[in-house]
């Protein structure tokens, strides 16, 4: 019986068993940011410890960075966090992609961009969206701050092995259906807690055919499905993406690439569970509630609590509809929006902005809608500007901003106000997530966000942008 990628990576990084039965796992790559690391450095100092492998930790600043006048946080608390990260990196010799480096950005955009994210590696970061890096065939997961301390001090942490669920999506995606729709559909089917205890392997021709950036969108939201990590097996696309990136050793690259590819799951690998999904059934998907699994196709109506299967489900629907101020049984299409946000570690990469820019020429953001576009890194921003994408967005009435987490979690000035409703390409629609305790989030793909921004209400991008394939001429 063969091994899954998860098992191969785990075996290559297991240091030994701990007294409580967990495994001491070597973390080859550690990423840190300003929010969850200062306390860990504090603990390190309290214990008189140092950073054991400073070359294997990489830092950037993302959550608190303002996206206008990036280097001037108006908030003294944000300034203090930035200063703490600077001095911690200096004191312990950690590489820091700061605002002046031209390489700063969301940690999950920066890692792949720099070639730090590589197949067959373990990657930990005090951020649950670390699952993103699984797109490269890495086992990558979020950790708490005490574990950040453990990794800094020892480059290891205590962990229990996960089960592996292979999610096969085969068939042909319909026009206007993106990676974001695929993962929202998976989470809708399996639930927000369906992945607890699992690592997800995304397999099938749909993922094979995706670009690396699309794979990142999928893996990114594994955690929204309850899975601590998710991955796509490395292939020729993975190798091509990494070739020549700054942190990829180009000496004997062929051997490196062969080693990377050897981590892919064996054909006869054993999985704890297998789920099969037909690509053709996936439609552009949007959320209607306050949990990422509360999603529907754009053509569907908002669920009716009267039709709930259990009292618990009814209570969840009631709570979500009351918060979202949406009516049961009515179409989601046409619900008025106040804000549109394109960006985040889910959908803040070059291909996301290129795709949207293809369709918005000649359109204008609807009156009364605030639409912001936030590149995931300074490099992404630069690439977009080189291609003139920023001008396309500006001409259509979108605000073009600097790199950061922005309105995904509102630890910076980009926030919803009152009960504003935001069409968002981010990953979480929790109550209050976008900075206002009554703010409302509807998750969707970047192209769907653009369609909503232009229409002024939740719209079917396929209709607005004529994405449906033309009927064959008889």
């Amino acid at each position: 019986m063969g091994k899954s990628l998860y098992q191969k990576v785990w075996d290559a990084h297991a240091v030994g068993k701990l007294a409580d039965g967990r495994t001491q796992l070597f973390i080859g790559t550690h990423l840190i940011h300003e929010v969850t690391s200062p306390q860990a450095f504090g603990m390190l100092r309290d214990l008189g410890l140092t950073v054991k492998y400073p070359k294997r930790t990489f830092a950037t600043v993302d959550h608190i960075v303002p996206t206008e006048n990036q280097d001037q946080p108006v908030d003294p608390l944000a300034a203090e966090m930035m200063a703490a990260l600077r001095s911690n990196c200096d004191d312990f010799g950690v590489t820091y992609f700061d605002l002046k480096s031209g390489k700063q950005g969301i940690v999950h955009v920066v890692g792949p961009e720099q070639g730090i994210t590589q197949p067959g590696t373990t990657i930990a970061c005090g951020d649950s969206h670390t699952a993103t890096h699984g797109a490269f065939g890495a086992i990558a997961f979020g950790i708490g701050t005490t574990q950040v301390r453990d990794v800094l001090a020892t480059q290891t942490m205590a962990m229990e092995a996960l089960k592996v669920r292979r999610i096969e999506v085969n068939g042909k995606l319909r026009a206007g259906v993106y990676a974001k729709d695929v993962i929202l559909h998976i989470i809708r089917l399996l639930g927000a807690k369906g992945g607890i205890g699992y690592c997800y392997e995304y397999a099938g021709n749909v993922f094979d055919e995706m670009s690396m950036e699309e794979r990142m969108t999928v893996c990114n939201m594994s955690i929204e499905g309850g899975a601590r990590c998710g991955y796509v097996n490395p292939d020729a696309k993975t190798v091509a993406y990494l070739r020549g990136r700054p942190y990829v050793d180009m000496n004997d690259f062929d051997a490196t690439a062969a080693r990377w590819l050897s981590f892919a799951s064996d054909a006869d690998a054993r999985f704890d569970d297998i789920v099969k999904i037909d690509a053709g059934e996936i439609e552009p998907t949007v959320t209607w509630g306050i949990s990422p699994d509360q999603g529907i196709a754009i053509s569907e109506n908002i669920p009716d609590p009267a039709q709930a299967a259990t009292p618990g489900e009814k209570a969840s629907i009631d709570e979500a509809l009351a918060y979202m101020k949406l009516a049961a049984g009515t179409p989601i299409k046409g619900v008025k929006i106040d804000v549109a946000f394109i960006g985040s570690c889910t959908n803040g990469r070059l291909s996301d902005f290129r795709e949207v820019a293809k369709y918005i020429r000649g359109h204008q953001v609807a009156a009364g809608v605030k639409a912001i576009v936030v590149p995931g890194s300074q490099i992404v921003a630069h690439q977009c500007e080189q291609e003139g994408l920023d001008k396309i967005f500006s001409a259509a009435g979108f605000e073009w901003r600097g790199a950061g987490c922005s309105m995904c979690l509102a630890m910076n000035p980009d926030k919803l106000v009152g009960d504003q409703l935001c069409a968002s390409s981010s990953n979480r629609n929790f109550k209050g997530r976008q900075g206002s305790p009554t703010g409302r989030t509807v998750l969707m793909s970047p192209v769907m966000v653009a369609a909503a921004a232009i229409t002024g209400s939740i719209a079917d991008a396929r209709e607005l942008f004529e994405l449906e394939p033309q009927a064959a001429v008889a």
Partner: protein, 200 residues
């Protein structure tokens, strides 16, 4: 560095309703602008405890004086889902909670809580419902989480088998919930592993 052995906890409990209570709900992100975990206790469940418009206290159970001093949190499914922020269990711990009983937990929250010696144990839905009814009828009801005997008991006569992953139970009971010393002790093994990895 001897750690406390967490074998059994007894206290009054409060039920917080809802499925999929996420870490943004437990501690809204704006309160994470800090470089220490000090003072997070007062912000636990802030946006559901205080009306966002008026700032007045809401009818949230944590605002009910009958439950003042409760040290055990009762909850539903997938408690602590969402972000990896340790600020969430830190805020609950600093608020005064010493344990959480729920139908299920999100994994990162569970691990973070265990490392803080705050046990997270699971019971069946109807068992949690019975405890909820008991504490809501009489908030003085004492609940005991017995990690050695693997039971949850109450002064009202409940006695249920609890579930918790064995590694976490062992870590709590044996006083090794913070693994740092054990991780540090294996320096030689770590070096061997690091050397075998081409990318390190």
């Amino acid at each position: 560095m001897a750690l406390e052995k967490v074998t059994s906890l007894t206290g009054r409990a409060v039920f917080v309703p809802g499925a999929d209570i996420d870490t943004d709900r437990i501690i809204p992100a704006r309160f994470m602008k800090c470089v220490t975990f000090d003072g997070l206790g007062e912000f636990a469940f802030y946006d559901v405890r205080f009306d966002p418009t008026t700032g007045e206290k809401t009818g949230h159970p944590l605002n009910d004086p009958r439950f003042d001093g409760a040290t055990i949190l009762l909850a539903g499914v997938n408690f602590g889902c969402g972000s990896s922020r340790e600020h969430a269990p830190q805020s609950l711990s600093k608020y005064g909670f010493r344990a959480v009983i729920a139908q299920s937990f999100a994994e990162i929250f569970f691990g973070n809580s265990t490392t803080l010696a705050m046990p997270c144990v699971t019971l069946e839905a109807d068992e949690i419902d019975q405890l909820r009814q008991a504490v809501e009828a009489d908030p003085a009801v004492q609940i005991t989480i017995d990690l050695v005997g693997k039971r949850v008991r109450s002064s009202a006569g409940h006695d249920f088998p609890l579930s918790i992953p064995e590694s976490a139970r062992d870590a709590l009971v044996a006083g090794r919930w913070d693994p740092i010393q054990e991780l540090l002790d294996r320096e030689a093994d770590i070096a061997v592993r690091a050397k075998a990895l081409h990318y390190v």
